[in-house]
């Protein structure tokens, strides 16, 4: 079976004036369908650039970028945008919930972008908010919620359209370890869900035990890819953490 994500020889540089800074120097990576895949590494190693490329918000300079059977480098900008709307859910470090919308309206956005009606989208959003334990906060605005609750709203927004790929950027960095753990549990597919691949960029070793595999990046390359057990051993983390 072909992997959900196949990256090969991926390179990306940024230019600032005459200075060209290579950020990704040849990434090879395969992520299978349904995997919870973590990308870890020090700041500036290229993690954010890598997830930006694999969800199509940034284009690579060279290499193969196959995501959910789509060659993102060959798609037009409009098709990539459409691809994201249909297939990708996002959980951002800073939540990025629109403060003037209610939680329900925020969660409904991906469905609205898919062309669903406001009513249908809100119904689905309300169900999803119930599922993440925020049934009583449906009509409140995000700024009335705690950080953990806001991140749960963001997760509901990422899941509501049942995307095949979820991209999370430091989803627990602003949360305590218990809330962070709850947030990660929400991302793991339940039996009734469609299979989904979850890519998590994180610095937070407290959540490493949620990963199926972990890719460790350093200086623009994937230094090694570890299974959960190998990662826990390598980083000296207890599975119960």
């Amino acid at each position: 079976m072909s992997p959900d994500i196949h990256l090969h020889g991926l390179k990306k540089s940024f230019r600032s004036g005459d200075v060209i800074t290579p950020v990704l120097k040849g990434i090879d990576l395969d992520v299978s369908c349904g995997e919870m895949f973590f990308i870890v590494g020090p700041s500036g190693c290229g993690k954010t650039t890598l997830i930006s490329i694999l969800c199509g918000t940034l284009s690579a300079d060279s290499g193969e970028v196959m995501v959910l059977g789509h060659d993102l480098r060959s798609l037009s900008q409009n098709r990539v945008t459409e691809f994201r709307a249909q297939n990708v859910g996002f959980v951002f470090q800073q939540f990025n919930l629109i403060p003037t919308l209610t939680n329900c309206e925020n969660v409904a956005i991906p469905l609205r972008l898919q062309g669903k009606s406001a009513r249908e989208s809100r119904q689905a959003a309300a169900l999803m908010l119930e599922r993440v334990g925020l049934a009583e906060k449906i009509n409140e605005r995000p700024n009335k919620l705690s950080g953990g609750q806001q991140q749960r709203v963001a997760i509901a927004r990422a899941l509501v359209h049942q995307p095949a790929l979820i991209v999370c950027d430091e989803p627990t960095s602003a949360l305590d370890s218990e809330t962070g753990s709850q947030v990660m549990e929400l991302l793991r597919p339940q039996s009734q869900d469609k299979p989904r691949t979850v890519i998590v960029v994180t610095h937070d070793p407290r959540i490493y035990h949620h990963a199926d595999r972990i890719a460790e990046m350093e200086d623009g390359v994937v230094r090694r890819t570890l299974s959960q057990a190998e990662a826990l051993r390598t980083f000296g983390i207890s599975p119960q953490t």
Partner: protein
């Protein structure tokens, strides 16, 4: 996504109020400038609205109603003899001084002499008394402005039965009427043509205009053309004379420049305040617009949302601005201020606000298009 765009706009009340107040202020500035323009223009043809007649015959050199070139007395008969003319009467208008009885103080007035047989051109908005009583000796009809100016004090304007003097001749008020204000705050005294000879400054030829009407079935335009062709005089229809008077004012006074300046400043205020505030609104929402872009909102969709938001701001600001101005104008005494809120004002200001919104939208769209969706991954 229109509901999302609307919510993003309405959700932050203070920003929304700031946005619409910019457009509102600009609307008020531009609309009052244009209303003043039309108001001053309407003053230029006030006599035409106070003394109504289908056709006005004047000296060939006359370009506007306030230009009083005397005609020969025989010109009235020449006009009457033109085929298609149903009636023609002499008409006089000129400036003179009225003396307030008891004080010896004089006030400038516009004297109008009407044909005594027909009283053609007599004012129609009578407040008190009867215009038909003009046939009595020494009688005059005055407008409310004259009544106020010649009264003993502001609380006691002249009334029917009161007396004042013009050119040392006694004049008794037999009716008070409403008139449209003319240039320089002109106030009107109506009397018969013959009596105007005594009240006005003495001159050999008193007829300044000949008022005429077409026979049934003929248009004012065609009869005016016939009069011009047969008499060599200039004949205007009422509408054409109004236009000629307005045009004269436009080309021979600094009013268009002054008004243009006011409207221009209003427009610039609109562009700068509304445009800049709207741009800031987009700028402050960059992160959220970036998130929408990352989640699959195309540039086109975000541009549509931006245009919708700008249009809502423009429409609301415009309606509030025009509404406030309209209420303010209504609160002013009728006909006193040179302000005329005509439909052309509403259309022109709407067009200007539309342009402001287009500029604001373009600034917003430019910003939205340049947002990098990957911004959402940067802390």
């Amino acid at each position: 996504m229109t509901d999302v765009a609307v919510q993003m706009l309405y959700g932050d009340r203070s920003k929304y109020m700031l946005l619409i107040s910019g457009v509102c202020f600009s609307t008020v500035l531009m609309a009052q400038g244009l209303a003043m323009f039309f108001g001053i223009l309407s003053f230029s043809y006030a006599t035409l609205e106070n003394a109504r007649a289908p056709i006005w015959v004047v000296d060939p050199k006359v370009e506007q109603i306030a230009d009083n070139q005397p005609l020969k007395d025989t010109d009235v008969d020449r006009v009457r003899s033109v085929a298609g003319v149903a009636w023609a009467v002499p008409f006089y208008t000129g400036q003179t001084q009225a003396r307030v009885l008891g004080s010896g103080q004089t006030k400038p007035i516009t004297l109008v002499g009407l044909d005594s047989a027909t009283l053609a051109g007599a004012p129609t908005r009578v407040v008190k008394g009867s215009v038909l009583d003009l046939r009595q000796s020494q009688s005059v009809v005055i407008d409310e402005e004259v009544a106020a100016r010649l009264g003993p004090d502001h609380e006691h304007p002249l009334d029917v039965g009161d007396v004042f003097e013009m050119n040392d001749q006694r004049a008794e008020v037999i009716a008070i009427v409403k008139t449209k204000q003319g240039q320089g705050g002109a106030a009107y005294v109506f009397t018969t043509f013959d009596r105007a000879r005594h009240y006005g400054f003495s001159q050999r030829k008193m007829t300044t205009h000949v008022l005429a009407g077409p026979q049934k079935g003929l248009t004012d335009e065609s009869v005016a053309n016939s009069i011009m062709a047969e008499t060599g005089l200039r004949a205007y229809t009422e509408a054409n004379f109004k236009k000629a008077s307005s045009d004269w004012m436009i080309y021979n006074s600094p009013i268009p420049f002054v008004v243009g300046l006011i409207v221009g400043i209003g427009f610039m205020v609109g562009v700068i305040v509304a445009g800049q505030t709207f741009y800031n609104f987009v700028l402050e929402n960059t992160r959220y617009l970036g998130a929408l872009k990352a989640m699959g909102a195309s540039n086109f969709r975000l541009a549509r949302m931006t245009v919708l938001q700008a249009s809502l701001v423009g429409a609301t600001g415009y309606c509030i601005g025009m509404g406030l101005l309209s209420l303010f104008f209504r609160s002013l005494p009728e006909g006193k201020a040179p302000l005329l809120l005509r439909w052309e004002v509403a259309v022109l200001v709407f067009a200007a606000v539309f342009l402001i919104i287009v500029i604001a939208s373009m600034m917003g769209i430019r910003r939205v298009s340049s947002i990098d969706a990957a911004i959402v991954f940067r802390s």
